[in-house]
Symmetry: C2
Subunit: 324 residues, 2 copies
């Protein structure tokens, strides 16, 4: 059985991606790093628990991916460029094979995103992963939730509902006709892609931004409340993947997944008309799918859903992810 | 039942201590802060789990205190000045009374240490607290583990073994004759004091430093391995509190607690002879007890214990805290 020191040494401090702004990484009481002159530091923390955020027996590679992706997604929603992560890992035992796979994915993602794992903690307990991610943003260009103004356009990156459909498939609540669709949707659940490039591209152009983790409508409501505005959402415009469209043929069910499904980690943001074309061409030049799904209104906190020009209501309300 | 948003709003974002270098605190996807020009950022993460780091039923005030103190202790061991914390809280249910007490202590400590809670996460699960603490240190004055040199003096702040004795009392493994000693020792277990002032005072003077969390000898071994040196420790010199001395009369047992007891969060550091007097007077001027307990030798990784001038061996070895 390994002790904490060999866990850190064997799996997390070896052969890792190194940045020049890390003076002292893993192995001391704390890490010492340097934020570039004139930039602000952006910090976020997210915890994933077995049985809550991922099923027992989930591939450690998917757990590592999702833990890092959710945090980088939060940084992206601020327009920040990620730099370093801290990892606190609670594991029932120091299972070497599990740790090898988990840490391998951590190192792979660090290299992919040019970020460095600078520290953390390993404790013995139920499986849980807490990541704290840090990054930078130039002053006055970070993206907030409370800046949406009347008439701003509402955009979302990528497609909606895939991760929720993937989870439903894994839970045997949704049947999937083809293996490729099954794979696509479950991978969207296990391996979400943080929109790092989109986030930095939106600096100074988006009037508000967040990432869709709890479901489109619930997350849009956060923007409305923070900004003291309302919104019209055109359900006809919601971007749905080919795989989701083929798997869920009933319109109401597809809309529910797109509106209430969590864990897509797409960016939801608002853009004043003056920046609309710039945003659309920036996204297009980065090959990032980006769809205008509605518009901000002056009707405080009020959200109107429209389908084929008519007001639309779901049978039940408040289907977003509940934490408690 | 409260949901995540009201937990954050009700307990953690209200009436909190605010710093001018926090551009955006709790409530968005991430926090935005400013590291002072010319300073390095220092970051550390620690997780405390119920049943591992604290007993079931522990006062939420003690859990909050210990979670923050262990992290500030790590920053202190780097010579850093603490600035901000992130809190990830896993709780089985949103018990308002528990949260009121826990968050009250978080706010109290933030105010006491002039730090701000800038973000976090709340999830539903077994009770666990992960804190990420951040702070600053001037370049080239942070304290590391690998700088101890032959002939440097070994010092420790405060007294050793109290927290372990407190835990033994709570576990009914140690009897305590007086209520005041019982209170003193159990409080040392529940409410450790991070040595923030001592840490910053040691900048540029200590050749190595860490905080005693796993037990004196195990932590000293980390310095020896990192610095590639050895040490002589004079057990006669180990600082033991009056309460511990009165509670544990048998010498071998008292020494064991002082050498192997964890969770004291005192600073263990080495000082070259040229800085010895400066360190002793700095500590004295801050009223911080500070004891010279041994000396660094050239015998790589070898630790010699001495009692009354003779080499000493404990009956069993390797009694430090095991994480797995």
């Amino acid at each position: 059985m390994l002790n904490e020191f060999s866990v850190i040494r064997n799996f997390f401090s070896k052969s890792q991606f190194r940045r020049k702004d890390v003076m002292l990484g893993i192995g001391d009481d704390a890490a010492v790093t340097m934020v570039p002159a004139g930039q602000y530091l952006v910090t976020t923390t997210d915890t994933l628990l077995e049985g809550v955020h991922f099923k027992q027996g989930t591939d450690p590679s998917a757990i590592a991916h999702k833990s890092i992706a959710t945090n980088l997604s939060d940084l992206s929603a601020m327009g920040a460029e990620p730099s370093w992560i801290n990892l606190s890992l609670s594991i029932p035992s120091a299972d070497e094979e599990w740790l090898e796979t988990f840490s391998g994915k951590v190192h792979e993602l660090c290299e992919y995103y040019s970020i460095q794992l600078i520290g953390g903690d390993t404790v013995k307990g139920n499986l849980a992963v807490t990541i704290t991610a840090q990054g930078f943003v130039p002053p006055d260009s970070y993206l907030v939730r409370n800046g949406a103004k009347k008439n701003d356009w509402i955009f979302v990156t990528g497609t909606l509902g895939d991760a929720a459909a993937g989870l439903a498939i894994l839970n045997d609540e949704l049947a999937c006709a083809t293996n490729s669709n099954r794979l696509y949707l479950t991978e969207r659940h296990h391996y979400p892609s943080p929109r790092v490039l989109a986030g930095t591209a939106l600096r100074r152009m988006a009037s508000s931004c967040l990432d869709v983790s709890d479901g489109l409508l619930q997350d849009l409501q956060h923007i409305l409340e923070a900004s003291n505005v309302g919104a019209v959402v055109n359900l006809d415009e919601l971007p749905v993947s080919k795989a989701l469209g083929e798997t869920v043929s009933e319109l109401e069910r597809a809309l529910e997944l797109a509106c209430y499904g969590g864990d897509d980690y797409e960016l939801l943001f608002t853009v004043p008309e003056e920046h609309r074309v710039s945003v659309e061409s920036a996204m297009s030049s980065y090959n990032i799918q980006c769809t205008r799904i509605g518009q901000i209104t002056g009707a405080t906190n009020k959200m109107e859903l429209r389908l084929r020009g008519q007001s639309y209501r779901f049978d039940e309300v408040n289907k977003g992810y509940k934490h408690f």
